[in-house]
Assembly symmetry: C2
DNA sequence: GGCTTTATCTGCTCTATAGCAGAATAGCTG
DNA sequence: CAGCTATTCTGCTATAGAGCAGATAAAGCC
């Protein structure tokens, strides 16, 4: 008996909403008990299964923990591992402002290895954007982005010195970025990199090469980042 | 009416089992339709909700896709990114044999920073196992494991030169390893590391430090790995 | 005080059923 | 033939209950 002729969100989502709100507003702190299944069912005038459904999803999201016999509790705030964020976004979330120094925007048609990674013909025209990322006026990463020149020609006019390339693509092109496949290793800084990052030649840098895909599964751009190892560690979580 | 007085696994898990089996044995291929909720309910003599529960979990695991109005279908085989595997396992999956040279197994009580990461008192006794990992008789990683000495005293007698530490812990201690929180950066090889890995001093190495947790969320061991960057790249996938 | 039992709380599995909404298809119509 | 319609699939939301099993706190006992 799904009594939802109007166009409300389903009941279990509304229940989730009330719980999320109380957690986000700080009324419920990590470790606090959340209403039990049976309580929720009574309060919201739904059946037990519906209340369970609501809590089950919150659990899978990692917002709450459920212990049989004990109850449902607000989970400790989780660090967002493995999250694909642009550097601009990452900095912003820590209250730092991300500045970039735009080194060059060029168009090449001989980057066949990179074209291949983007699933494009070998001689496709690619827009190459090279930036030095800095925080507190100190450079900490050298980033080179490659994207299809024809499709994203206007990117060269984007405010790449300030803004996020991610945000630009999502806003101006309506692209929903979904995931990145990355290769991570260490290299020694070549002379040019060393100078740009203000580190000694040959100093170890963390190299992250990523192919970023849209939610439709299409490869959108290729990014190589060289990170000063004294300013950057990558945090991820892996599951068995 | 949970009619499970015996000690069977729950009905929804048995249903999952039959579906998993058919997929693994190749009777069902990617894209093939799986029995619908109502069919499953009839076949297994359970209610619709129970059949749904079974399919719901398989969907979350990524094994099947469900399209309203259309049906439930076997999902395309997914690549397992971000999977926590021991080096032994990783090598084995590529048909290579992982050898290790055991450098030392000692017990320390002054590794307070590492004890802290394992959520132990600062002066806890820790068993330290240092190994050089090699493939094709060439060293490619220097790995240092720290685990609570009291709980895992017998580890020093484990066949660490051949076998996997993961397998040992899971088999002998019944521990289910679940996930690792990792910090990844680049460093320069110090003289000792350089010699053990047969690379020049100061050469860049990929450093991976991981705290490995059991499925109960308990921190089990801490591992620092130093990887020759010319022999190893880490592959992960990140989501937005 | 410390120990054990018991009642009661919690989440988990499950039933049998209902109506809703999207997708596919079989059939009809111009 | 192409285009619409109605039927029949599918999964999704929801009900109103039941008994089971683990955790916890209260009650009883030594």
């Amino acid at each position: 008996m799904a009594r939802n002729n109007g166009n409300w969100p389903p009941a279990y989502q509304r229940i989730q909403g009330t719980i999320r709100e109380r957690i986000e507003k700080g009324h419920l702190k990590p470790g606090d008990a959340v209403d039990s299944e049976r309580e929720l069912a009574k309060i919201h005038h739904v059946s037990l299964m519906t209340a369970r459904h609501a809590l089950g999803e919150l659990q899978r999201e990692g917002l709450v923990e459920r212990r049989r016999g004990a109850g449902t509790f607000v989970a400790p705030p989780k660090i967002h591992f493995n999250k694909l964020t642009s550097l601009s976004e990452e900095m912003a979330s820590r209250g730092l402002s991300a500045r970039s120094r735009l080194l060059s925007t060029t168009i090449v048609d001989n980057a066949n290895d990179i074209a291949a990674r983007l699933a494009l013909p070998a001689t496709s025209r690619l827009l190459v954007v090279e930036r030095v990322r800095q925080a507190a006026n100190e450079p900490f990463a050298l980033e080179t982005c490659y994207l299809p020149a024809d499709e994203f020609a206007d990117t060269s006019k984007a405010p790449l010195e300030r803004g996020s390339l991610f945000a630009f693509l999502e806003r101006e092109h309506g692209i929903e970025l979904a995931h990145a496949d990355e290769e991570i290793d260490a290299t020694a800084a070549d002379p040019r990199t060393a100078e740009l990052l203000a580190i000694p030649r040959g100093a170890p840098v963390l190299r992250i090469r990523q192919v970023i895909h849209s939610s439709q599964g299409k490869a959108i751009l290729y990014v190589q980042g060289l990170y000063r190892s004294d300013r950057h560690t990558l945090r991820i979580r892996r599951f068995r």
